[in-house]
């Protein structure tokens, strides 16, 4: 018996008891829809985080200074300023493949312009910073290496801060006071939006790190340095070289813990997405369990169906159906149940995730591979849970089956 005939036979048998067919499918429909929508929410969250990570810049390595231990408690990386300006210069000059490096000296400071004032995060950075973060200027210019070397009082202003201080007026060329020191605004940043923690990245003022150290933050060391590599392929080498270089400079013996920490963008991204990934896997497996339950439902109904149709099977065997023909007939019925249920479930899941996206205000992404996996796994469920009932049907003794009441 050809496969086409088996499929036709299966569909006809399923149509004969439409209500039961639909109820049996419901398990698979709900299971697949649940998997599809949960995974699409997960995918959406991941995509959002990735987009935010991308705003950090391209091919960036973050070097964090070591941790301070107070009373036996580690305060976390970046709390002690173990990175210095010579470290920065060394990374820039000695590590191959580095195209730019910038520290970030943060100081929340009171800003004033005329009668307007604001408390804003002022970041001391190098001239490479804008390139590293792929952050274009809206107007004006970047400050120069000279400005950094001379600790000039120049500043670049973010969009939000500009609005606070100047309203609709022009900022470039104006002088603002940061902690009472006058800084000339040389440039205005293009808007960047929120970062992954949800804070406004545009509420910022950038100054040369030397000026920040001297006039705002005090001290001589950095908590972090961002390094940009020329190419993604160079990242592992650059990471390794920076590690070697800083160990050497900080005189840290082989095998001892360093007083700094190096993170690539990928690692940061992984860290940020790991929570949502764990949640997705967790919810996805719960949804997967419901798929299995749906499969058991199919098996149950198929077993009932085999018993109900024992005489039919007997007749088919008597008039010449081979074991395999009967096997195929019932297996195809189970597969048709689960695959049709799977297709409906995919449609339902796509619809539900669209609705959820509206309700939660975050994007959901129904990926092609999750559709394929859902389709494949529902077919697999049909085979796995249809096999035993089909085998039971195929192994019936024709004489017994014909006599069955």
């Amino acid at each position: 018996m050809i496969i086409f005939a088996s499929i036709r036979l299966a569909l006809r048998a399923l149509r004969r008891n439409l209500l039961r067919t639909l109820l049996t499918m419901l398990g698979i429909i709900i299971g697949v829809a649940a998997v599809i929508s949960v995974v699409s929410i997960g995918n959406g969250a991941k995509k959002q985080v990735e987009a935010q990570i991308a705003t950090l810049g391209q091919n960036v390595i973050l070097v964090l200074s070591g941790n301070v231990t107070r009373g036996g408690f580690s305060m976390g990386f970046g709390t002690a300023g173990t990175l210095t300006q010579p470290d920065l210069e060394a990374i820039r000059k000695e590590v191959e493949g580095v195209v730019g490096a910038s520290p970030e000296v943060r100081a929340n400071s009171q800003l004033a312009y005329g009668n307007q004032n604001a408390n804003v995060q002022v970041s001391g950075v190098s001239a490479d910073y804008l390139d590293i973060r792929a952050w274009p200027l809206k107007s004006g210019d970047n400050f120069t290496e000279q400005d950094v070397r001379g600790a000039t009082k120049v500043a670049i202003i973010g969009q939000t801060t500009r609005k606070t201080l100047f309203g609709d007026g022009d900022a470039v060329g104006q002088t603002i006071r940061i902690k009472n020191a006058p800084f000339v605004i040389v440039g205005e940043l293009a808007p960047k939006g929120m970062n992954m923690m949800g804070s406004d990245q545009d509420d910022i003022v950038l100054v040369p790190f030397s000026s920040a150290l001297k006039r705002l933050a005090g001290g001589t060391s950095f908590r972090s340095i961002s390094v940009q590599a020329a190419d993604a392929k160079l990242l592992p080498g650059v990471q390794h070289d920076i590690d070697d270089l800083l160990r050497q400079r900080h005189k840290i013996q082989e095998g001892r813990d360093p007083d700094f920490l190096i993170r690539t963008q990928q690692e940061i991204s992984n860290l940020a997405t790991s929570t949502s990934r764990v949640l997705t896997v967790l919810l996805g497996s719960v949804a997967g369990v419901s798929l299995v339950v749906g499969g058991i439902g199919i098996m149950n109904i198929m077993l009932v169906s085999v018993t109900e149709r024992t005489r039919e099977i007997g007749v088919r065997l008597a008039i010449g159906a081979r074991t395999r023909d009967i096997m195929m007939q019932f297996l195809f019925e189970a597969i048709a149940l689960s695959v049709i249920g799977g297709v409906i479930g995919i449609g339902l899941g796509a619809w539900v995730s669209g609705q959820l996206s509206g309700v939660m205000g975050s994007p959901t992404v129904v990926a092609a591979n999750s559709i394929l996996i859902a389709f494949g796994s529902s077919a697999l469920i049909g085979i796995v849970f249809g096999y035993f009932p089909a085998l039971k049907a195929a192994r019936l003794d024709p004489i017994e089956a014909l006599r069955f009441e």
Binding site: R12, V315, A318, I319, G320, A321, R322, T323
Partner: protein, 253 residues
């Protein structure tokens, strides 16, 4: 000429726990092409076992069974299925049609398992031919519950004939039918037999058995009578007589 059925010292023993049940204790039976045999016997006489073996649903414990010259003793389950498909047409007491399935689709069923496969168009044509042969050419799209018992049995006979078998095997074909319909079904059997079909029929009614040409009676697993039917009933004659009797009591118009 090769006989259609040749049983040589056929024995069948079932094991029920520790007890051995000798269902058939040595039967020699030869049925030539074109015969119409009625097999009779009380329950437990071994006639069902005999029919199951003749129908290739079961194999002899000892002895040999040759169907159309093929020894089935050595055949596997699937080979037996193919043999049933090609050489035997089954007619059952309870009709055994698929419910909610049209008459023509029921008749097409044996062709579904035919190897090599028969093209769909030929299947439909042959199903219609077989239905016409039993007088139901116009009822192909009726489902079993839209047909009377006699009509259902005719569909079953059409299904049995559709693969052009060598042997028509009927197990109590009139068991669920009234006397008029029974005679009609026997009329179809006699017609088919006249056209050359070999028929073996199990029945426990002597009236029905008298429509056959030869009568085989079994008791305790052995054949006790095997003779030609004297004064064989002719379906048309019996039907005419029944009509007359019914008219006499105003049962029929």
């Amino acid at each position: 000429m090769t006989p259609i059925i040749e049983l040589r010292d056929f024995k069948k023993t079932y094991k029920t726990g520790e007890i051995e049940v000798h269902a058939v204790r040595g039967v020699n039976l030869t049925v030539a092409a074109g015969e119409f045999v009625a097999v009779m016997g009380a329950s437990g006489s071994g006639k069902s076992t005999l029919m199951n073996t003749i129908g290739c649903l079961d194999r002899p414990t000892s002895g040999a069974y040759l169907l159309d010259g093929v020894n089935i003793g050595r055949l596997e389950r699937d080979d037996l299925a193919d043999l049933r498909n090609q050489k035997i047409g089954f007619v059952f007491q309870g009709f055994n049609l698929l419910s909610r399935t049209s008459a023509s689709e029921n008749v097409e069923l044996p062709m579904l398992y035919r190897r090599p496969a028969i093209p769909a168009r030929d299947q439909r044509r042959r199903a219609l031919e077989a239905l016409t042969k039993v007088g139901l050419g116009q009822r192909g799209d009726h489902t079993p519950n839209q047909l009377s018992g006699g009509q259902q049995q005719r569909v079953a006979i059409a299904r049995a004939l559709v693969n052009h078998p060598k042997l028509l095997l009927a197990d109590e074909p009139t068991g669920n039918l009234d006397s008029r319909t029974s005679i009609e079904i026997m009329g179809i059997f006699q017609e088919l037999n006249q056209m050359g079909m070999t028929i073996v029929m199990v029945t426990h009614e002597l009236d029905v058995a008298r429509f056959a040409k030869r009568m085989v009676i079994m008791r305790d697993g052995r054949v006790v009578t095997d003779q030609a039917v004297e004064g064989m009933s002719i379906a048309q004659v019996e039907l005419a007589r029944l009509d007359a009797e019914q008219k006499a009591v105003n049962l029929a118009p």
